[in-house]
């Protein structure tokens, strides 16, 4: 491949900067590497992409997991360049392409707001759009605004094949103008951000499977791919159904929950469009058990924990369902640092009532907000600043558990992950 000299030099400089950053103990150096490369060669992303980018994955929730599932499924055809750390802005994309196997197909996770720019510069074969919901409103766009930006992006890039969730009306509004589109009925558990039509503001009519707008006549597009999820008495089953009616059993996925099976269905639809063997794709996706620390079991101080990450009400609401049933206690850590969003008012949008019957260890720098939320939800709660300290005042029931679920916002999650004594069982 013919990368312009300027970009090659810029990447070299970026690698030096990344190495220096690693030596200084400041992490893996991807952001700094990508930043330096882009400074020196503003078209670095375009130069590096040149037809290599197979897929971009964007959504409010599940970007990192879906990207991992798809990249793993596609590895059947050889090495894939894909970031492993959730660095999902322009710098991260540059870095994944610059450091991945030379010439390898790339699968990139992309931040919702950066998607238009990265689509334009990388001209990917497919773009996966899974869901849009409220997220960190102190610094991010409101949902409808983001959807309008995606809509313009799609109109301006008609050659790109869009794979989109037909069950999320906001995603449909964003994607419906695509020239080439594959609709997936990937489900939508969180409907609070799509109660009204993003175009005309009319309250949407919903039933079990479909939705429609009586104001402008917009309806749920007929999906090519379907997804079935059943949960009965703690047992779950998931099936993806292809446009030709072929069924793929996703029950052996190692990643838990409805949302991950839904992510796998989106990934499978992408594999199909990109010409991969689908049974092999399912088999490979089933080998993914932890994604950048999510669902990993780690030793943190005196406790062995299963790490769960959620950043917003839609994510939390699905996470509550994969926790073990009452009375098993759980740890919930809420931070409000920059990367978490400064305003945890969204705690009041999460159905924490579902945790009733167990003790919640409330921690993180916004543990007092959580304690009041749980007080109102009539959920028993113990506020502990550092539950992993050897002398932490924890209930007996917590100490007795082999592994305790610890659900955390981004910075709390990262802190445990980085500070952990190593993954016990990844």
């Amino acid at each position: 491949m013919n990368t312009p000299l300027r970009t090659r030099l810029a990447i070299f400089a970026g690698k030096l900067a990344a190495a220096a950053s690693r030596l200084a103990g400041r992490g893996e150096g991807m952001i700094i590497g990508g930043t330096v490369a882009l400074k020196l060669s503003p078209h670095a992303l375009e130069d590096l992409a040149q037809g290599r980018v197979a897929a971009l994955v964007s959504a409010t929730n599940g970007k990192t997991s879906t990207t991992r599932l798809l990249a793993t499924a596609m590895s059947q055809g050889g090495p894939i360049a894909s970031p492993t750390t959730g660095a999902n802005m322009t710098e991260g994309a540059v870095w994944a392409l610059a450091t991945g196997a030379p010439g390898a197909q790339a699968v990139l996770e992309v931040d919702e707001a950066y998607l238009p720019r990265i689509v334009k510069e990388t001209q990917p074969k497919v773009v996966l759009l899974a869901n849009l919901s409220r997220d960190q409103l102190d610094r991010m766009s409101e949902v409808a605004m983001l959807a309008r930006k995606w809509r313009t992006m799609i109109e301006e890039n008609p050659e790109v094949l869009i794979i989109a969730n037909a069950d999320d009306p906001i995603v449909v509004f964003a994607a419906e103008k695509a020239k080439k589109i594959v609709w997936v009925a990937a489900g939508q558990a969180w409907t609070a951000d799509s109660s009204v039509c993003p175009e005309c503001g009319t309250l949407l009519t919903r039933d079990e499977k479909t939705w429609s707008c009586s104001g402008c006549g917009r309806t749920r597009p007929t999906p090519s791919w379907n997804f079935e999820w059943k949960a009965t008495k703690g047992k779950t089953s998931a099936t993806a159904v292809s446009p030709s009616g072929e069924k793929f059993d996703l029950s052996n996925l190692n990643l838990p929950g409805r949302f991950n099976a839904s992510n796998a269905t989106m990934a499978l639809a992408a594999c199909s469009e990109l010409g991969y063997n689908l049974p092999k794709a399912v088999e490979l996706m089933s080998t993914v058990s932890a994604v950048s620390g999510r669902y990993a079991i780690v030793q943190s101080g005196a406790l062995k924990v299963r790490l769960l990450l959620a950043k917003n009400p839609a994510g939390w609401s699905e996470l509550l369902d994969i926790m073990p049933p009452a009375p098993t206690p759980v740890i919930v850590m809420i931070n409000s640092n920059h990367a978490d969003g400064r305003d945890p008012s969204w705690l009041w949008d999460v159905p924490f009532e579902r945790l009733a019957g167990r003790t919640v260890i409330a921690s993180g720098n916004r543990r007092r907000d959580l304690a009041v939320r749980l007080l109102h939800a009539a959920v028993d709660c113990v506020v502990v600043e550092d539950p992993f300290a050897p002398d932490a005042d924890l209930p007996e029931s917590v100490r007795k558990l082999d592994v305790i679920d610890c659900a955390a916002t981004y910075t709390a999650f990262q802190k445990i992950r980085v500070g952990a004594l190593g993954e016990v069982d990844a």
Partner: protein, 241 residues
């Protein structure tokens, strides 16, 4: 004493983006502490807004949703009738702007509010995002004396007319946008930019609304968890200044 207080949560699907559903949860919770029975009606657009509620609650929302809510409330007329009947109203952010004469829609064009508060809203130069601390005025409702704490996230500059009093005076944050006042009040109708949610972090406001509804004074009940949260938030603001 055994009166059931009727709470109407107005269009929470449109006006509830910033956790404002917590205000209704707080009313329920605090009413229970005072042994007051409440019924909560969650009104979706298309459903009839009751004119006989004791307390109406409106939260914040995105621009498109705000316009949809304003249009539906105009068509209904029930909120104005409720206020005439002596009901109390708590309106937050986009909900507050709707109660005024005009607010700006998604395209920046003025659209008509309900005119229940003598205020008009246009744009702040820079969006107001962050912790908001304000002191209730001594001329305000008797039950609200403690400092108010919350989180604001809005682009609206709300100008107060002569028919309202400020709800509070800002000590940290932006509030209405004039540098001093936060929110507006006229009789039992309150508008404010306090999310947090407002009634969770300021239980006295909830008690005042309930007190109007049951027509008797309520002694403030202190809950340790809530006090700890208030203290922590107020400390955070004074330390970061």
């Amino acid at each position: 004493m055994s009166k059931t207080v009727k709470i109407a949560s107005i269009y929470p699907t449109l006006l509830g983006t910033y956790g404002d559903g917590g205000n209704v949860a707080a009313l329920r919770h605090i009413a229970a502490l005072h042994s007051i029975t409440v019924s909560v009606d969650e009104i979706s657009p298309g459903q009839k807004v009751p004119a006989n509620a004791d307390i109406y609650v409106l939260g914040g929302g995105e621009d498109t949703a705000q316009s949809a809510a304003a249009a539906a409330l105009h068509a209904s007329g029930a909120l104005a009738e409720g206020v005439k009947n002596g009901a109390a109203v708590l309106s937050i952010c986009a909900g507050y702007q709707i109660l005024g004469h005009t607010f700006l829609d998604a395209e920046g064009k003025p659209s008509a509010g309900l005119g229940l508060l003598d205020v008009t809203t246009d744009r702040l130069e820079k969006r107001a995002v962050g912790e908001l601390v304000a002191h209730p005025l001594s001329s305000g409702p008797a039950g609200i004396s403690a400092v108010l704490t919350g989180y604001e996230n809005h682009g609206g500059f709300t100008h107060l007319g002569s028919g309202v009093e400020p709800f509070a005076s800002v000590t940290s944050g932006i509030g209405n946008g004039d540098g001093t006042t936060e929110g507006a009040i006229n009789g039992r109708v309150i508008g404010t930019y306090l999310h947090g949610p407002c009634l969770v972090r300021n239980p006295q406001v909830a008690e005042q609304l309930l007190s109007w509804a049951v027509d008797r004074k309520l002694e403030h009940i202190v809950e340790a968890e809530v006090e700890a949260l208030r203290r922590e938030r107020l400390d955070f603001v004074s330390k970061s200044r």
